[in-house]
Symmetry: C2
Subunit: 222 residues, 2 copies
């Protein structure tokens, strides 16, 4: 099922499994963060997004099962890094939760979408489907911009928070890459050390650019 | 739209609204309690139930909107009693969370199902649909019985916990009845004081009997 020579069944299973547990975590986090909502309409909006993430989890879970893999066993090795990321970046309030949903999930989505481009068409289509924006973007941008307009000092705190989120995400990503060579193989390819270095460098340039775009959309200095 | 002479548009809106906020609260509580799950399979099972509750919330929300009512305004007066109930009965661990989902939701479902019997057929059908067991019962009974079999002393603690849940639920129900006369009117009807007293007594006998059945199913002494 390889298109480019760099994917393998192990890499596909790893990618679907890390995404699945990521979606399950996102579901639980958004549902929990809904307690910070300043009103009922915002609570309903965040809960609706949480439920959409669970739908994505279910698609990935079913695909893993369809590949003849035990989905829970496949997700097992990703529990520690993802749980640790969420423990280290537990939002203190409504706005921190919103920025995490937008900046953190956006960063992860860009990363997974790029990797999926190196996989077979079926996997690629599924990954792109589950990474579709579930309404986070417009909702968060609207709420955060309004909060900063009302109280400009909030912007500095949220910009620092966004930087911390990306730092912690990169730390856990390095840990996962070190522990799962098949998954890391998707990133660097098999075209030799120089090409691998360029491939990783290009990816990080792209991720950084997109992150800067999101920060500007929020009205935050990167 | 009255079948029995005791319902009114205000009572129907109140009932749909208190149920809607109850389902939204159940969604958030189950999603949060999933963090206590001893393993990934249990976490997925509880999250799946949470999402089913959100589906019920959405049905009730849409029905309220369909009646020309602002769903958020209608739910407004039920936030304090329901939030307080959940704050007063925050589970300390996985088993307390499961018993709360089964005993507390079961008690509430019996109550609402009886009240809905006094309403127009459309409302009655919707209420019964959203109160359908979403898999709580079999899942919880299985997990709690296994835990008590492994460590019988747990039974005493959980029996006390269940008694507290019912006590707090009745306290909040009295508060709601006092604040929402139209809703309380569904309970007592309009057939005179003696008939009203009999109606309330019969309802509480039924609720108590059903609660005792659930306690026996869990292997707990009432």
């Amino acid at each position: 099922m390889s298109q480019s020579g760099v994917d393998s069944p192990a890499a596909v299973v790893d990618l679907l499994a890390v995404l699945a547990y990521g979606e399950l975590s996102a579901f639980q986090r958004l549902a929990a963060d809904a307690r910070f909502a300043p009103g009922l309409a915002d609570k309903v909006a965040l809960s609706t997004m949480a439920v959409a993430e669970f739908g994505h989890f279910r698609l990935l879970y079913d695909r893993l099962a369809g590949l003849g893999v035990d989905p829970e066993a496949a997700m097992g090795c990703f529990l520690a890094p993802l749980d640790e990321f969420h423990e280290l970046t537990d939002p203190a309030d409504w706005l921190e939760g919103l920025v995490k949903a937008y900046v953190g999930d956006g960063f992860a989505a860009d990363f997974y979408r790029e990797i999926a481009g190196r996989l077979d068409p079926d996997t690629r289509a599924l990954v792109r489907q589950v990474l579709d924006d579930t309404g986070h973007a417009a909702f968060v941008v609207d709420r955060v911009r309004a909060a900063i307009a009302a109280q400009p000092a909030i912007g500095g705190r949220l910009a620092l928070w966004a930087r911390r989120l990306v730092g912690e995400a990169l730390g856990q990503a390095q840990r996962i890459a070190a522990e799962r060579p098949a998954l890391a193989g998707l990133l660097v390819g098999d075209a030799g050390a120089q090409a691998a270095e360029r491939s990783v460098r290009d990816l990080f340039t792209l991720l950084t650019d997109r992150h800067a775009e999101r920060m500007r959309a929020l009205g935050l200095a990167d």
